[in-house]
Amino acid sequence: MDLALPLAAWLVPVLVLGGVVLGLVADALDRRPSAIVLIALGLGSASVAGFVLSGGTQPGIAMGVLAYGSGFTALPALGYSLAALAVIAGFRRYATADRGPGMAALIALGSVFAHALLAGLDLMVLFVSLSGLAVVAYALVAGAGTRRAEESAVRYFVQGTIASGLTLYGLALVFGLTGGDASFLAGSSALGSAESRPALLALALVLSAFAFKLGAFPFHAWVPDAYENADSTSAAFLSSVPKLAALVALLVIVRGTLFQADLFAPATSLLVAIGVGSLLFGSFGMVRQQSVARLLGYSGIAQVGYGLLAISSGDAGIQATIVFIVTYAVGASAAFIALEAVGRVRPDWDGTRAGMAGIARRSPVLGAALTVAMLSLTGIPLFAGFWGKLHVFAALLSNDSVVLAIAAGVAAVVSFGGYGSVIRAAYFEDSSDDEKAAGERGGAPLVVSIVLALAILALGIVPLLTGISRVYAVFSL
């Protein structure tokens, strides 16, 4: 085992953890604003360091368990930036509430777990990071502090324990089949020569565990609940970073490391079924939602479907999965942080579409940022999300799955019934009462929304000029 520990492997998480430790110390000294600043600084510097260190490096494996370099560092760096932006957008919320610094620290810890999940090449790392992310997620939902939030956190927790059980069984089975070798790379050959039925069972269990983490059909029930009841900045984190990590980790496991192609082949149809189910269930579910956060929850279910379909379509799907999940993560963060800004501009907002009526007249910039996020999630060109959808289509079609591609197209159209209704409420409906006096301009959440909207536009337009590879190559594994 190579015990060398290159900078790219350890510096990034250490920066985050350092920020968390210092932040918690500051919190203990009752300096909550400083605590949030320290945590955000840790995340921000980690993200910068990650992007810098990922450039031009070949992927390597540190200590036999953690992949680093290229996308294995750049994708976590993206996760850290999104986490940092969520903390910044929620600055006032976290700096004023009693347990605010704790929430910010949870987001930071969660992104470290996400890093480990994404880049870990070991069963133990996989299990610990999945469980760690789950605990962070329960706590973030409960941390919103309302009774409904606590209730949905408990429900989420109960469902989560079942999923954890499945994960444990699955990983134990793999562990047994590989003869006690926890490393993906070593385990791969052992699994290849193992009995196929227990190996398939193990695969099915592992897939279920990931489906729960991703909120894919039929393990989706917690998603709308959790997103609706968590506060918007926590939801911005929950909907993007763990999904980014889990989808890429699944990609790594089933395409190239643990489960080799011939072993995985029979399970492809299972993945397709989960993917199409998520796609249709999520898209149709969106249309009737009144609560915007809930609508985005169903949107998350649908979007995961595209990612799973990309993974299911063989080698052509690898790049597609990466491009897709990057664009989705940015889009989902942007959407939830825009919702946080809506809450600032209109403090008595009840979270419904109707309550957003005319918000774009009140704050044109917020309206624009919200629109950019919605159109990107729909997959309209000029916005980042288009490239994700395009790559998924291309992967499916180069695999001759015309029907799946058409289903994905139809789901995108249906989903606009949801996304479009948000834009419709913001722009085309008139606000009921004169609200010149109430609310403020949007503060930090508005600024972060603008930053993310500009990022979406850049990720959407620049590839048109330079080609897709220049922009997204940084994330390739």
Binding site: L382, V410, L464, G467
Partner: protein, 487 residues
């Protein structure tokens, strides 16, 4: 670089107008300057292309692997780009007095840039990007500035056309993947394997046929037209509907000629159905704007029929029909909008005797209506005539059914003219409250500036159709031989 300017100028105008458009005067000046500048560049391209007579004038590609920014202009695109640039000016002038003018002008210019992008795209991905980019400003124009039912109409417009274009995207990607070709469109694309042509063709057709639109995929159109603000209707009828026919000629015929030949009887049937159905529906309307909207369905039916024939005559007919309909429908929607601004109703039955009270409006309306019904000497005739003749040549006497539509066109047009222009002013016996038309003002100088040039072009094109056919001939000839090689 010239071609890139055609997109960059309106786009820059849109940006500046959005940022600095709080002042009405600034927004007007910027919008007018940008649309005039675009039209100027379009005129330069027209001249250069007309004198060179090559199949392809300009090609503009950003160097570097993978870039999708490839632009080209040929006989198929130059007339449509010119039409778009012209109607761009008309739309700006027609929305001189809207509220929130900065945002309105910005959307209008963005729309113009996107439509020109569709016509100039020489890359399959860029084509799709521009195609979808058209939806966004139009969605906001309908939803933000439309009439009573605008919210519903905006959503319906977006979802309906997005449904078509999502399938079209699958078709485009399949074309690239199965054809084993890059995304760039060469001047003379090679057909893909016959085996995969049918599926690709119909996936693409889903997008194109919704946009044209053909019956029964047309139901978004009356709603969108009626609810859209005047400038939106002008652009929608004038140029957006042409995108579908353009797509068939630009992509379907060259890449999937066998499937196109196999499908052409179906396309012709859809065209004839559109001609008859659109005219019959128009006859039953009392809302003037809805009447013009249904007449658009009929006119686009002729365009589809001409395309379906796959002959040079038919393609020329389709091209003439597109340009003519752009001018005529643009003018009619402008006139209806101007009348609505004054009377606040579009109900035909509320008017009467406008020939006496609004002589200028009435004169121009009669000319536009006659052009719309296809009177020889005005622009509507040559295109429809060529399309029908080409249809006869290819499909035989079944095409005579289109004659029903031509007769009905005479009926609905003359009915509208009789009720609105002739008769007693403000007939009190009408089933709805009559409008005191004597109190309405006639068209002012700005409005004449819009209407008279359009009218002049309608006459000019009717007398001298070679204005358009000469410039399109080389490209359409090549296209016809491509379509003809397989049938």
């Amino acid at each position: 670089m010239t071609l890139a300017l055609l997109i960059a100028i309106p786009l820059a105008g849109a940006f500046v107008s959005a940022v600095a458009g709080r002042s009405t005067a600034v927004a007007r000046v910027i919008a007018l300057a940008a649309s005039l500048g675009t039209a100027g560049v379009a005129a330069v391209v027209w001249r250069a292309y007309a004198s060179s007579a090559e199949a392809l004038t300009y090609e503009f590609t950003i160097e570097g692997a993978g870039s999708f920014l490839r632009l080209a202009a040929d006989g198929l695109s130059v007339p449509l780009v010119a039409l778009t640039a012209l109607l761009g000016i008309i739309a700006v002038l027609a929305s001189w007095n809207v509220e929130r003018i900065g945002a309105h002008m910005s959307l209008l210019l963005a729309l113009e840039a996107a439509v020109i992008g569709v016509f100039l795209a020489a890359d399959l991905i860029l084509f799709y990007v521009a195609w979808e980019a058209v939806l966004i400003p139009m969605f906001f124009l309908i939803g933000g500035w439309g009439h009573e039912n605008r919210r519903y109409a905006a959503m319906k417009f977006f979802i309906y056309t997005f449904a078509g274009s999502a399938l079209m995207l699958v078709g485009l990607v399949l074309l690239v993947v199965q054809g084993g070709i890059g995304t760039g469109m060469p001047a003379a694309p090679l057909p893909i394997e016959p085996a995969s042509q049918t599926l690709v063709f119909w996936l693409l057709a889903a997008g194109f046929l919704v946009k044209i639109p053909v019956v029964p995929l047309h139901t978004w159109l009356p709603d969108a037209h009626v609810e859209a603000p005047t400038a939106g209707s002008i652009m929608l009828a004038g140029v957006l509907l042409k995108m579908g026919a353009y797509g068939i000629a630009r992509i379907s015929i060259p890449y999937t000629p066998d499937a196109f030949a196999a499908a052409s009887p179906i396309l012709a049937a859809l065209g004839v159905i559109g001609i008859v159905y659109g005219a019959a529906m128009a006859l039953g309307q009392s809302d003037l704007k809805r009447l013009v909207a249904y007449s658009s369905v009929a006119h686009m039916g002729f365009v589809v029929l001409g395309l379906a024939s796959g002959t040079e005559l038919g393609l020329q007919g389709a091209m003439l029909g597109m340009v003519s309909h752009g001018l005529v429908a643009g003018l009619l929607f402008f006139l209806v909008g101007a009348l609505y601004e004054r009377a606040h109703t579009r109900d035909i039955r509320a008017f009467g005797g406008l020939g006496v009270t609004l002589p200028r409006w009435a004169t121009i309306f009669v000319v536009a209506s006659l052009a719309s019904l296809g009177l020889p000497g005005l622009s509507g005739f040559p295109g429809e005539f060529a399309s029908v003749v080409a249809g006869f040549g290819r499909f035989g006497f079944v095409i005579a059914l289109a004659g029903i539509g031509i007769v009905l066109a005479g009926a609905y047009t003359l009915r509208a003219v009789r009720l609105v222009v002739h008769g007693e002013p403000a007939a009190t016996s009408a089933p709805v409250d009559g409008v005191q038309s004597a109190a309405l003002g006639d068209l002012d100088a700005r409005e004449l500036l819009i209407a008279v040039p359009l009218m002049a072009l309608i006459v000019a094109l009717g007398i001298w159709p070679r204005l358009v056919t000469d410039i399109a001939a080389a490209t359409l000839g090549a296209l016809a031989s491509l379509a003809g090689t397989v049938s």
